[in-house]
């Protein structure tokens, strides 16, 4: 495959790579006869992004440059290498006249050649890590809820949230859309600022809600995709079903570029924010010797909830062999590995246990307000560490 990207589109491509870099650490490139697909998956497999660059995005596109009868050329490169080739997207169109991408199926390097102003040629030989492609299966067309919004409306709404927030909940009804950073459960006291933004349907370009629902997803990826839409000045289409089913964000300009961002959704108030922030909080509480019983009982319940949810979530990103993908249910997102099929089924992997609970019960006596260390007259197994 060999293609040329004209100057203004190099900037678009650079923005694309930077947006994808906020999703995952690897970049999958697949060249088809009429387009190039860029894909990435985040580490926890809860977010997936696919950008399709059509043939007319390029000034020259030759899929069969190196050899004729290849179906699809695929490669996986490290996202860092890709970022290195596309530094500072904002200035790129001023410096770069055009970009040539070459992918030889018999070579171990993907070549980005940037022809810059002043006759400077920058060539990046990027190592190919793998020849597999990764593909997610999801639906965006047959879903009850669809919203089209200008990216500015959503960006402005997100401007009200703190940098430390890592999830948002969308609560949708046919009357209004509410974006908030907290759920209905009162147990989560770690969040100091609770924000809620209500947007009326007439603010959106289109607003169809078939099923009232609320979905929670990560803010980091949401911000990344909004940044991408902002850079390209394109509206964002949101397609989603109900809690637990993936939400698909589509950004496209109709002719040259189409991007799908798929985010796993969960119930409000669980997930990373809960586990990370609440741990420190509960530790602090333990130091204060407050009676923890009541709260830990609630936590047990929540943790069960959490692990159930994780099991549900792991359904979303199942790795399944290639030949199974046809009969797979539509809403599942699968990793299709062409060269090596992996037969492991992730369905039964339980969520990892949370050690926090055990510690609380093992040393429970110590943290009760009635505990007096002087009543213990046993052998000291481990002495107090130095105050230093």
């Amino acid at each position: 495959m060999k293609c040329h990207v004209p100057g203004p589109n190099v900037k678009v491509l650079a923005r694309t790579v930077h947006a994808l870099a906020r999703f995952g650490d690897d970049l999958y490139l697949e060249s088809l006869s009429d387009c190039i697909l860029l894909r990435t998956l985040n580490a926890s497999e809860s977010a997936y992004a696919m950008v399709k660059l059509n043939k007319n995005f390029f000034s020259h596109f030759n899929h069969n440059y190196y050899c004729v009868d290849v179906e699809g050329l695929k490669c996986k490169i490290s996202m860092k290498s890709a970022l290195n080739a596309f530094k500072s997207p904002a200035h790129m169109d001023k410096q770069v006249e055009n970009l040539e991408i070459k992918l030889d199926p018999h070579s171990s390097k993907l070549i980005f050649q940037l022809n810059c102003k002043h006759g400077i040629v920058k060539t990046h030989y990027v190592s190919i890590l793998d020849c597999k492609a990764m593909q997610a299966v999801y639906t965006k067309d047959l879903v009850p809820n669809r919203i089209t919004s200008s990216q500015r409306l959503l960006s402005e709404a997100l401007g009200n949230f703190q940098c430390s927030d890592d999830q948002v909940t969308l609560e949708v009804t046919s009357e209004s859309l509410i974006i908030k950073n907290f759920g209905d459960t009162p147990t989560d006291i770690s969040r100091i600022i609770r924000s809620q933004v209500t947007i009326k349907p007439f603010e959106f370009s289109s607003y169809t809600i078939g099923t009232d629902t609320n979905i929670t997803f990560t803010l980091k990826e949401f911000r990344a995709l909004l940044g991408f839409a902002e850079g390209l000045n394109l509206p964002v289409q949101l397609h989603f079903e109900i809690t637990g089913k993936p939400a698909v964000f589509v950004v496209h300009n109709g002719t040259t570029i189409e991007a799908h961002f798929v985010l796993a959704t969960s119930k409000p108030d669980i997930g990373t924010q809960y586990t990370s922030q609440h741990t420190t909080n509960s530790e602090r509480k333990r130091k204060e010797n407050s009676n923890d019983n009541n709260i830990s009982a609630k936590k047990v319940h929540l943790d069960e909830d959490l692990s159930n949810q994780f099991q549900e979530d792991s359904n979303l990103f199942n790795y399944i062999p290639n030949n199974m993908s046809q009969n797979n249910v539509r809403e599942n997102i699968n990793n299709v590995e062409k060269a090596n099929s992996i037969d492991t089924n992730c369905d039964n992997i339980p969520a990892s246990p949370t050690s926090r609970m055990r510690i609380a019960s093992v040393f429970k006596r110590c943290f009760e307000s009635t505990f007096d260390p002087r009543i213990i007259h046993g052998v000291v197994l481990a002495e107090n560490s130095d105050s230093d």
């Binding site: 490290s78 290195n84 080739a85 102003k117 400077i120 040629v121 990046h124 030989y125």
Partner: protein, 270 residues
């Protein structure tokens, strides 16, 4: 006036200390510098592990007054971060006039700074001096120069800034053939290559008699970044033994010039 200053080894005064401050900042990657006042001008030199030698040179015509006693060597070691801190004592937004005095060997360097926008405010600084260490004599007249390259500083800075930070060596290939300049960096798994032909706008002059391949530590080359940022023109000279001399010219508003100079030792091929 002459009677008053002749007892000093060195005196100098300047209307604006801002450019001097920026110039010294650009070579301030070591704590101490060798301060040398000659009749032609003032020179401060720092060395980084005997691999890089950087000098700031301020020709005497940049000073409104400049006296060096002919019969003595004015050469001492001084803490360059203290010196720059003193020059910037009224803050970045305030330009100040500057006077320097150095009485004799072993005495401190005296600085008198007066901010331009305030009258009746004055700062006296005394900076202790030490006996100068010997500095490397890197310039060797016997070794022929093989390549000379004059570039626009801003464009060269753009190139250097774009290089991958994670790699540690940089290879510069110079050749009379196209592409005349080729800069190669090796990352973790990738290789990047920048080709600059001599016809490029950023190349103001190019001369190279034979093809040469030079390897340096990228960190050493990055030390010139601050100097590049304030300079307008950069000259790269390479001798046949691989020693790279980078000279940078800073042009002030009053048409006067100040210079920085970097000697960078090559990495040996294995």
């Amino acid at each position: 006036m002459d009677d008053g200053t002749s007892q000093y080894y060195f005196t100098a005064s300047m209307d604006s200390g801002k450019t001097l401050y920026n110039l010294l900042k650009s070579i301030q990657f070591q704590e101490c510098a060798v301060f040398c006042a000659m009749n032609e001008g003032l020179k401060l030199t720092v060395e980084e592990g005997k691999c890089v030698q950087a000098s700031a040179y301020i020709p005497a015509d940049n000073f409104t007054e400049y006296h060096v006693r002919d019969d003595v060597d004015v050469l001492f070691k001084i803490n360059i971060s203290v010196l720059t801190e003193c020059l910037n004592i009224f803050g970045a937004n305030e330009d100040s006039s500057l006077k320097m005095y150095y009485r004799c060997e072993g005495s401190p360097l005296l600085l008198v700074l007066q901010p331009q926008s305030m009258i009746n405010v004055m700062t006296d600084c005394e900076i202790a001096t030490q006996i100068a260490d010997s500095i490397l004599e890197l310039r060797d007249e016997d070794v022929p120069e093989v390549a000379k390259l004059v570039l626009k500083a801003s464009a060269f800075m753009g190139l250097l800034g774009d290089l991958e930070r994670s790699c540690d060596t940089i290879e510069i290939n110079l050749s009379p053939e196209h592409p005349n300049v080729s800069i190669i960096t090796y990352g973790m798994q990738d290789r990047s290559c920048i080709d600059v032909p001599k016809s490029s706008d950023m190349v103001q002059s190019f001369s190279c008699k034979q093809a040469i391949r030079l390897k340096y530590q990228l960190y050493h080359l990055r030390l010139i970044m601050k100097a590049l940022a304030i300079s307008s023109k950069v000259v790269l000279r390479s001798s046949s033994n691989g020693l790279l001399l980078i000279q940078l010219k800073l042009e002030k508003e009053d048409q006067r010039q100040m210079f920085t100079e970097f000697f960078i030792l090559p990495l040996l091929d294995d």
